[in-house]
Every structure is written in structure tokens, then in C-alpha cells.
Amino acid sequence: MVWMRALLYGVPAALLLFLVAAFLNATRVTATKANEMANGSTVEPSNLNPILSADSAASEVQSVIFNGLLKYDQNLEITGDLAKSWSMRQTTTFFAPTPADALAVAAKLESLRDRWAAWSLQSVRTDGLAILLDLTLPGLDTSREIFETLQTDNLDKLHIVRVGVKSSARESLDLFLQTAPSAPFIVRRWIDTSSAFELTVQGDPAPLVSDLKTYYASQPSLEATVETGEMLDFLAEPEVTFLLQPNVRWHDGEPFTSRDAAFTFRSLIDETVGSPRKSDFELVSKVETPDDLTFRVTYRKPFSPALGSWMIPLIPAHILEGKPAAWWAEHFNRSPIGTGPFKFDEWRVNEYVRVVRNPGFFRGSPWLESIVFRVLPDQLALRLAFETRQVDFWSADPWAVGTVQKDPRFTVFSYPSASYSYVGWNLRRPLFQDQRVRQALAQAVNVPGMIKYILYGNGVQSTGPFTPQLWFFNPNVEPFPYDPVAAGKLLDEAGWVRGPDGIRVRDGKRFSFTLITSSASETRRDIATLVQDNLRAIGVEVVVETYEWVVFVTKFVSKGNFDACVLGWTVPPDYDLFQVWHSSQSNPDQLNMVAYNNPKVDQWLSQIRQEFRREEIIRIAGEIQSTIYADQPYLFLYVPQATAVMWNEAYRICRPGPDGTWIDEPVEITKAGWSYWSDYFYRPEHPPAVLATGKVIRREARTP
């Protein structure tokens, strides 16, 4: 009997006791702050293999574990990371029908030596039918200029022939080429994938094509296709040579060499690996490693985003070479080895990833002992974790910016984010095919109001697909003003007149459409509601529908199955927007979801990919931006201002200064963000030893 009473009252009492004890411990215990940085994110990395992962959480962790050949400096310009320096040159090749003709062309070029400097031409030599020009500047324009100056009929055109065959039958082409009479005229053979070959043929491709067709007709089981592609006047093959940092070691002690760079490249294009970054490297024709510290890459044609692509982190050959993808998943992807300032330590799924200091880092050991990347489910949790110092940084939402700026405990960093929001008009729908209508809609929506009230002033109106902090941004594009009257007039002009219920009508059709957005973001839903409201005022009826993110993307947006959608893009510092705006990219699951088609823009998009000269890039990008903005395939809304918050004096920077001194300064904003110097962050409770040595320049925060 007694035991019954004991149980009845005792168990709850015991539980309460536990609670009280735990609470007292949480509030009273004095604990020291560890020498560790805590970052928070709402997304967990999928894996930590840089050539396989494509999410932002993974790249945050990878940025401290790995290095690439190149990186961005604090002004968002390209600088060396694992590469000490690099140089670019190009080999342009002309082809003549006979060796004698080739020599003649070479002689003519020699006679034009006075123009060589202007052409960045360094040397000319012949090799059989080929005339090779060694240029110090990559690009097509100078080569074209030289070609046209020569004005000779003594040069053969080149033709591309594409052969598609089952991957199991690759050798069939090799067999053919060993014996075919037309084979000697093949000047380049490029393996596009495991089953498609691109042959570059000098002169008339017809004999080769017919021979190939006959050959494969006799083997129908191979299911081969042979077709003729484009015609070229010459070959232009740029080349980048990287000189690597000596004395770099992987986290397991092995030295870093050019072999690792070559291996990273081979893995990137290997289909069994399945890297999502493969398309950046498809134009590479070969890589060479003349010695341990030199790495050379040759491209099939000029491709200016090439340099940017080598910021990809490098993976260790000595660990991963020869191992299948399943082995990688088991032993590397979740416990990676890199060359970076921090080493991987521990990954607790759905809790955190921890990395610890790498004392042997080639630029010097970092001051922090460890960094933890916490995973939290939503924005609110992040904010609460920040307020209890469970994470050290927090990106404030726009409405909270005012509050945190006034809070004396926090330091606030404000910078333009690399993204923009928009309403996409599906140009396949007849409703949106008139440019006047789209421009009217742009002026009917109160974008400045949106910025003022949704972003609390933290943003600027977007004027196209580039954001203001990029060096090729065109500042001369004027944003459309908020002018509902002008909008109404434009619509009247386009034939849309107000009907009896206030909604505009044309040819019996009402101006009504469905605007879809995802349930994941309250801001996007707010935008949808505002657009609905604004457009109702000028006689356009908008029905808003919200869907779960995955459904939204896969069922509607990717398939071009919508009227209008509210979305945003994150914009890397890259001027190559081919996949988003080129007319060929509007098939299902591609990125030109609105089916934008402007032949002039198409041309510019291809052109800019082959342009290496800075002023030209700026010019072409400017044209692309202003044309797209005027065309209004999207209603470009705004570029938000990002705000990062940190507890005052939570961190300072101690970085190397001139003449062996050390600069001790507070954390401040740079063009590349406020965390650019994070390798050199230190906690004031654990100051680095060097600060005591005396050769220190100490700076304080600039008072705002």
C-alpha cells in the first residue's frame, strides 16, 4: 500500500527534481568560452566532397577545409590560392592544302612582323599542313583579324563531323580510323562523352562522312549516327599554365602536387563520378603536369569563364585515385581530407559539423582552435541561438534590421547580396507576348514601395540580371518608375480596355492570370499578394496559388507550366548567363523557364563566353543587361541588402602586415563580404601569441 502511494507521488516528484537540477545547472554553472567559432545554417550539407556537392551549406564548410587553384580576393578579383601564379596564351592554327602553301602563308606572316605586337603574336611556325601561331592573349578577335589580313585562298576550311555510337562500341571508331583513306585529314579528335566523338576535318568532309556511313551501315547493331556540324576558319586553342605553391601538404601529411590537380579534373568529367560541375570543364581538351609544381590546361576553343572554374576545391589523388564512387561515399565524402586552414573533425547528423585547426596550413596556422557549423531548422531558431550565443553570427531579416542596429550589444554588417527577386512572365502564353503589356505591368507594380515596406529600405530596385557590386554591372540602366497611370495608358494602347467589371478585356478575353509561388518563403508570398493588389488597381485580375517548393519547381516552373511565377536567382560573380537566357535553353528542366528568345541577346551570350578583354566584357554585359531589362521577360523587382550581425568584439582579426608586422583590427566589411579574413579571426579571450611580441599595428573600429 505504501509503495503504491510512493510510486504515485514519487515518480512525478523525481522527474520534477531532475528538471529543477537541470535548470539550475543551465543558469548557474560558470563555464569558460571555448576558442571555437559557431556558425549556424538552416540547411545541412549533403556531403563534403567539393566536386559532388552543390549546396551552400556544403560550400561553407568546404571553404575552410579545401583550397582551389584560384580564389577571389577582397575586391572580388581573381587571385591565386594553391596556384602561386598563372599565365595564359593561345595557339591559333591555320590549315593549308599543301606544305608549300603552308610555308607561303608563314612567309607572308613574317613579312607583317611590324603588326605582331598589336596582335599579341609571338611566333609563327609550320608543321606539315598546319601553320601555328603563338599568341599571348586568348580570344577570337585577333585571330580573325590575322585571318582576314592574310586574305588568301590558300587556306582550307575546317569542318566538324559528329559521330554518335554506343559506349560499348567506342573502339569501332578507332578501328575505322586506322584504315580509312580519308583519315589523315582529321586534325582533331574530341571525345565529347563516352559515346560521342567530334572530329575536326580539314577540307571537304564529304568523303569521310560517306566512308563512315558505309562503315557503320555494315554494322547496324552499333546504332551509330554520323552528321556534319559547323564550319570553322581556324582553330583557336587557349592554354592556362598554373605555377603551384611549394610546400603545401594535405591534412594527412602527403605533399600536394600537380597530380592532384590533374586527378581533380579527370574526376570532374568522369561520368561514373557524376559531378554536377562537369559542364564547366567540358571544353578542356587536355591537361598536362610537366612537373610537380606546374599544371597546364588546354581548351578546345576560347572560353572566358574558364579561369573562374578553377576556383573549384582540389581533391587528393593519393587517397581517391582508382577507388569507385561507393568507396568515396563510405570513406571520404563524410570525412574529407583537404589542404585548408582547418581539418575535418566530426559530423553529427542534423546537429553540427566540426573542424579543427590545421597547424601546417601553408599560409600559417589559424588562431581559432575549431569551428562548428550548426544545423538549425528555421530562421527563428537561428535568431534565438544567436541571442544565447550558441551561434556567433546571424543574418538579420529585413524587419529585424532596425532593431539590431539600435541594439548596442551587436555589430551590424550591411552589404548588397548577390541575388535578385523577380516575377517571371511565361512568354509562351499569348497574354504576355506584347512588350508594351510587360512594360505596363512593370510600371503598375509598386517596387519602391515593396523595398520600403517589405525590405524596410534594405534593398535597391533591380535593373536586370546582374547585381550592382559586380564589376561588369551597367549602372546606366534606368529602372521603371511606379506609374499606374502610364501603365494604364500603355495597356489601352495595346488594346486592353476596361470591361464592365473593371477588368480589362481584349477580343472578348479577360486579362486574368494565375501567379504561383512557393510556400517556403513568406516574403515571396507577400510579394505575390502585393502584385495581386497593385494589378487589380489597373484592371488586371491575378489569382495567387502557393505550392510546396519541390512541387512548385518540378511540376510547374521547370516544365514551363505556369502563367507567372515569383522567384529569385542567386548570382555568382560570373558574366556567363547562357543557361538562363539563351533561346536554346527553354526545354523542360532547363533554366530559361520563361522561353525568352531574342536573337541579338543570343549572339551576345555566345560572344561573351569567348571574350577575354575586360572592356569588351563590360560592354557586352552592359548591352545584355539593358536589352533584357527593356524586354522585361521578368518583372525585375529588387536586389536585397544583406545584414549580418555579430556580438560586439566577439572576434577580431590578426593578419600579416607589411615588413613582418601584424595588423590587429576589428572585423569589417569588404567587397567579398565581412568574413573574408576568417582565416585570421581570433577570439579576444584567446589572443594569438604574436600579439605579445610587439610588432603589432592595432586599429580600432571606425566610428560610423
Partner: protein, 304 residues
């Protein structure tokens, strides 16, 4: 001082002893002041939701247009002009809560109605027929209870579209199992009652027996389950809206008002507090009424 309700109940007036069962239940019900208060709230809610439901459908802006956005007055705390403050688009929260009541309560009623319909039919067949029919149906009920409701609803909403009626029907479809079990239990018991046995012996067909004898006696507990199921449906709808799967803007339910506001929770407490209080009050009222009914009815059947 004896707290035995049985003894207490015997001290009853002679006229009352001859009252019908229905009247007895009623008397027992109104004796408890809590029940009366709760019923009052329920009636008030029903009236409010009806009135504002009509206003909403006829697009009458009473007391003020719940969909009128006004960016200048966003996120204002409660004041004389806006009794419950404004939300992140400047809309009056008081108006939205009132207009949203109609949808929140409709979801409760219709979802329970659907669940009731299906559950009663399944439970009746199972309880009356017995044997293998009962086994099969009960295993099916077991099976349904194993499904994680969340992604059933997610899939359904994704496939059918996020309309109010789809959500309601889906909630009904996943929650009929409790009713089925209860109805089955009632039928199993009632089937063995003398008067049913007598009816069978006399040759009455099954449908007649079910509708004339069994169902009326089982009606009371079924009704109580229904009333007790309404708050569950309301809470489920609130939960769904909270996760972003509810009705579309600009329509509002209490759950979607809270869901839209969860990011502002630290800065605008009124956006969560008022709709939350509404949900709480409505749910509580239905629970209390349902429980009161259950107590009144069970005491009554005890005395049979």
C-alpha cells in the same frame, strides 16, 4: 459527505423520474455551469462564423476589409483604430480573425462530417455482420492507422491542389478510424440486446433492424464523438496551415494568419496571440461541450 454521484442522483423529484431520456440528459447537462458557458461560446462562434462567412463570400468589408493591404501601417500593435493590430501587409487582424472564423469552423464541421459518415458506415457493417467481415474491416482500419498522416495530406494537397475542400476531405479521410471503432463497439453490444434479438426472431430484415433499433440507440455516443472530433479537426487545419499547406492568400484561416506571422513572433506578438487565443477558445469550448454531453449521456445510460 459522500461524493458518490450515484447516490446523489437518486435524490430526484417525482416528475423528473418520469421525464424522457432526452429531457434527463438535458437537465443533467445544464446543471453544470461550465457546460452552459461552453455551449454559449459555441453558439456565439457559430453565429459569428455564419455572419462573417456570409460577409466574406459576399465581399462585404465589415468591420473593415480583411484583404486591404496598406504598406504604411504594417505591423502596428493593437490600438483604437485596429483592435488587434495589423499584420505584415497592413491588414487589420481583427477583421481577418473574424472572417477567418468561418473557414476554420467549417473545416472542423465538414471534416468531422466526412469522418462521421465513413466511420459510421464502416463501423456499422463491421459491428453488425461480425465474423470475417468484421475481421477484414478491422484489419483495414489498423492498416489505415499505420499511415503517417502528414505526407498522406501533403501528397493529396500536392496532387489535388491546395483548395479548402480538398484539405477538408483529406482530413476527414484520415480521421474516420476512431469513429469506426466506436460504432463497431456499440453495434457489437447493441446487437445482443433483447429487443434486437426479438426483431431478428420475428424476421425483420437487417437494414430495418439497423435503422429502427440499433442506430437510434447508438446515436448519442456517435454524436458525442462527433462533437469531440471537431476541435481535433480545427487543430489539424491549424497545424497544416502552420506548415504552409493550407488555404491560399488572400483567404485567411486562423492557422494561416499564425503561419504567416511566425517569422515576426519576436517583434509582433499580437499576430500570434489573437488567432491563437481564438483557436484555443473555440477548441476548448467544443471540448467542454462534448465532455459535458458525454458525462450527461453516460450517467443516463448507467441508470438503464
Amino acid at each position: 459527505m459522500n461524493a458518490n454521484p450515484l447516490i446523489e442522483a437518486e435524490a430526484v423529484s417525482p416528475e423528473a423520474a418520469f421525464a424522457t431520456p432526452g429531457q434527463r440528459v438535458w437537465r443533467r447537462f445544464v446543471r453544470n455551469r461550465l457546460n452552459v458557458a461552453a455551449s454559449g461560446v459555441v453558439v456565439a462562434l457559430a453565429v459569428i462564423s455564419l455572419v462573417f462567412g456570409i460577409a466574406s463570400m459576399a465581399k462585404i468589408p465589415f468591420p473593415s476589409d480583411p484583404n486591404a493591404t496598406s504598406l504604411e501601417s504594417k505591423l502596428r500593435p493593437p490600438s483604437a483604430a485596429h483592435w488587434m493590430g495589423t499584420d505584415q501587409l497592413g491588414r487589420d487582424v481583427f477583421s481577418r480573425v473574424l472572417h477567418g472564423s468561418y473557414i476554420s469552423l467549417t473545416v472542423g464541421f465538414v471534416a468531422v462530417g466526412v469522418a462521421l459518415g465513413i466511420g459510421t458506415v464502416v463501423g456499422a457493417i463491421s459491428g453488425y455482420c461480425g465474423k470475417w467481415v468484421d475481421q477484414v474491416l478491422m484489419r483495414a482500419v489498423d492498416a489505415l492507422m499505420c499511415f503517417p498522416t502528414f505526407f498522406l495530406i501533403l501528397t493529396a494537397v500536392a496532387l489535388l491542389g491546395p483548395s479548402l475542400w480538398n484539405i477538408v476531405i483529406v482530413i476527414g479521410l484520415v480521421s474516420w478510424t476512431g469513429t469506426a471503432r466506436l460504432v463497431r463497439a456499440e453495434f457489437l453490444t447493441l446487437r445482443e440486446m433483447e429487443y434486437v434479438r426479438a426483431a431478428r426472431a420475428l424476421g425483420q430484415r437487417a437494414p430495418a433492424i439497423v435503422f429502427r433499433h440499433i442506430l437510434p440507440n447508438a446515436a448519442a455516443p456517435i454524436f458525442v464523438t462527433a462533437v469531440l472530433g471537431i476541435p481535433g479537426a480545427i487543430l489539424t487545419e491549424a497545424g497544416l496551415s502552420f506548415l504552409g499547406l493550407g488555404v491560399q492568400p488572400p483567404q485567411a484561416t486562423w492557422g494561416s494568419i499564425i503561419s504567416d506571422a511566425k517569422t515576426y513572433i519576436l517583434d509582433a506578438w499580437w499576430l500570434i496571440a489573437f488567432p491563437g487565443a481564438a483557436i484555443l477558445i473555440a477548441t476548448l469550448a467544443f471540448f467542454l461541450v462534448g465532455d459535458g454531453l458525454r458525462q450527461s449521456i453516460s450517467t443516463q445510460t448507467e441508470r438503464k
